[in-house]
């Protein structure tokens, strides 16, 4: 069982039912569950969308797109059925927050899905979990069965004339399926290859119908926004970044864990106070602020507020909220190699810049880290990464290129220290990246 953590600076909104047995519907109801969905059923679609807009809630998957705005793009009239699709394909390295949501609060995901369905006029919602999360899928499926048994799902939800069905789905191992168009392909029983946009899913999505796709954390947040009221929720966060975020803090910290902190919370405080500082009293070398695809920050760059805008201004991204701390005994070339090996493994090969780019980066870094690098390799890797940016259907190409550029630009000296047959200054294991 994954360990739960706590810190006085946390504002527990989404996590407030964690560890309280709320996976069972009776307990969830006891803790105020499903009241938000009932309220939304009375208030109607326009009210819900306006509340979401006013709350400042932005997509927790990584892109940070305003949720209410996304919902408002779905046409009111549609010849084809509309759908809600919950993205629980959590697979950005450094991110494990949805893991806890599915484990401790599956009904919040169901309730959020119902509300999204009411907002856009959908009768069916899909909840897609990555294949590795089988035990969590079983928890979700049990919760869905309970909701049907209570009449909260089905032909007449909460005794109304409104229909809403939920179908759960398992993936089978693919990072790229976390991208929304690839996710739809996977759910349709195909290879998870991205679709070209436009058309956007809000117009032509799943089975050709208008579709809203939200991250599991976003959806689990929705009922709380309704319960608290949009203004109260927005007030918790920073400007244009409503509410809290589940930050997965991992790597070389004393107390790793998933912490729910207000948007805009200081990153330095997050590392040194919330997570207890660098493990074993070592120095901090770098921080990956939002999952492995976000450019690395130096210790002098982490005195910033963690919201989409402030991290963007600092030259990186808030991404999935996966904060990875790296201590001063870690080789950045090796870290870069492991990061790029992942993207090389996960590239579907559809777009040449991503397929070839990740492969050449991995080859270059492998050779480089083994002590056979040449000075021109450093510029070549940068050139490769720069030419992957913005040249692929889905963001996987960018997701590989962005961290690579960060490593080369900020740790050029450490790359140079590997040159001319010099052994890795931090050598521990040279046969890494056999994946």
């Amino acid at each position: 069982m994954p360990r739960l953590v706590s810190h006085p600076d946390e504002v527990k909104i989404v996590t407030r039912r964690f560890g309280q047995g709320a996976a069972k519907i009776d307990r969830y109801i006891e803790l105020g569950g499903y009241e938000a969905a009932k309220k939304c059923l009375q208030q109607g679609a326009d009210w819900i969308v306006n509340e979401m807009k006013a709350s400042g809630l932005r997509g927790r998957g990584g892109a940070g797109f305003p949720t209410g705005l996304k919902w408002s793009f779905v046409p009111k009239q549609s010849a084809k059925p509309k759908y809600v699709l919950v993205n629980g394909d959590e697979s950005e390295p450094g991110t494990c927050k949805d893991h806890l949501i599915f484990l401790h609060d599956p009904h919040a995901v169901i309730e959020g899905t119902i509300i999204a369905g009411l907002a856009i006029g959908a009768k069916v919602g899909f909840i897609y979990l990555r294949g590795e999360y089988r035990y969590l899928l079983e928890i979700m499926e049990k919760a869905v069965d309970e909701a049907y048994a209570q009449g909260f799902l089905g032909k007449r939800i909460f005794g109304s004339n409104t229909e809403f069905q939920i179908i759960t789905q398992t993936g089978a191992g693919a990072y790229e399926v976390g991208e929304e168009s690839a996710l739809m392909e996977s759910l349709e029983g195909k290879r998870g290859v991205p679709r070209i946009k436009p058309p956007f899913p809000a117009v032509v999505g799943l089975y050709g119908g208008p579709t809203v796709i939200n991250n599991a954390e976003t959806i689990a947040t929705v009922p709380h926004v309704i319960t608290m009221g949009a203004a109260a929720y927005a007030a918790v966060g920073s400007a244009r970044n409503g509410g809290t975020r589940l930050f997965s803090i991992s790597g070389h910290v004393e107390r790793p864990g998933v912490y729910e902190l207000p948007m805009g919370y200081n990153l330095k405080k997050m590392i040194y106070e919330v997570a207890g500082g660098v493990r074993g009293g070592r120095g901090l070398k770098a921080v990956v602020p939002g999952g492995s695809s976000t450019p690395v920050l130096l210790p002098e760059e982490i005195d910033i507020g963690m919201d989409f805008d402030q991290v963007g201004k600092a030259g990186s991204m808030l991404g999935s909220g996966g904060v990875v701390a790296i201590d001063d005994q870690t080789c950045i070339v090796e870290f870069a190699l492991r990061t790029i090996s992942f993207y090389q493994h996960e590239s579907c090969g559809w777009c040449i810049p991503c397929r070839e780019g990740t492969d050449w980066l991995k080859k270059s870094l492998t050779r480089f880290h083994a002590g056979f690098g040449e000075a021109k390799d450093i510029d070549n890797m940068q050139y490769l990464a720069e030419n992957m940016m913005g040249r692929t259907f889905c963001p996987l190409g960018d997701a590989a290129a962005m961290p690579m550029l960060g490593f080369v630009k900020k740790f050029r000296k450490e790359f140079e220290e590997h040159l001319n047959g010099k052994p890795c200054p931090f050598a521990k294991h040279m046969d890494l990246a056999v994946v």
Binding site: P2, R134, G189, L432
Partner: protein, 173 residues
């Protein structure tokens, strides 16, 4: 499915698949879960599994193979009864996944990714499994084991050997 006796699946799984293909707006949406559940029971995607899944959904075998080859959890060859998947991605790497992997390799007496000769265990390095805050983490089939050190390895292996002896748990479920 016309002929029930032709199935390679247990009656329970066959019944589950009958329901699964009717569950979605399109039959094809059942494909990925069906392949994974079939693999859980049979151990891997054998030619017979591919053929039956194709027939049940109404696709060609080539179409099924085309989809199956995309997903990293789906495999065309058998693995050990207990497949040990060590995450070596960044968060686990920083907290000693490599040492953990080496310890498994040593204890199992196998060179690199592979299986023990008795077919009990297989070992592989995998990408992020979504347990970053509880690193290093592994999955044995679908079970998570978290916050590990090499010292935990003998106990984990003994646990699964014991489970195999008592015959309690199905091979891949």
């Amino acid at each position: 499915m016309g002929n029930e006796t032709m199935t390679v699946f247990s009656p329970r799984l066959a019944a589950r698949f009958d329901a699964l293909v009717e569950r979605y707006p399109s039959r094809r949406s059942a494909l990925v879960p069906m392949l994974l559940y079939a693999q859980d029971e049979v151990g891997y995607l054998s030619d017979a599994v591919i053929a039956e899944v194709a027939r049940r959904i109404g696709l060609t075998e080539l179409e099924v193979r085309n989809v199956a080859s995309y997903y990293s959890m789906l495999r065309f060859k058998p693995v050990g009864r207990f497949n040990i998947q060590v995450c070596t991605n960044i968060s686990c790497m920083l907290r000693g996944s490599h040492e953990l992997y080496e310890k498994f390799r040593e204890e199992l007496g196998i060179a690199g990714n592979g299986a023990t000769t008795d077919g009990m265990f297989s070992l592989e390095e995998v990408e992020c499994i979504g347990a970053c805050c509880w690193a290093p983490a592994i999955q044995v089939n679908y079970d998570f084991h978290e916050e590990l050190s090499p010292n935990h390895v003998p106990g984990i292996l003994a646990g699964y050997r014991g489970r195999a002896q008592s015959g309690g748990t199905k091979a891949h479920a």
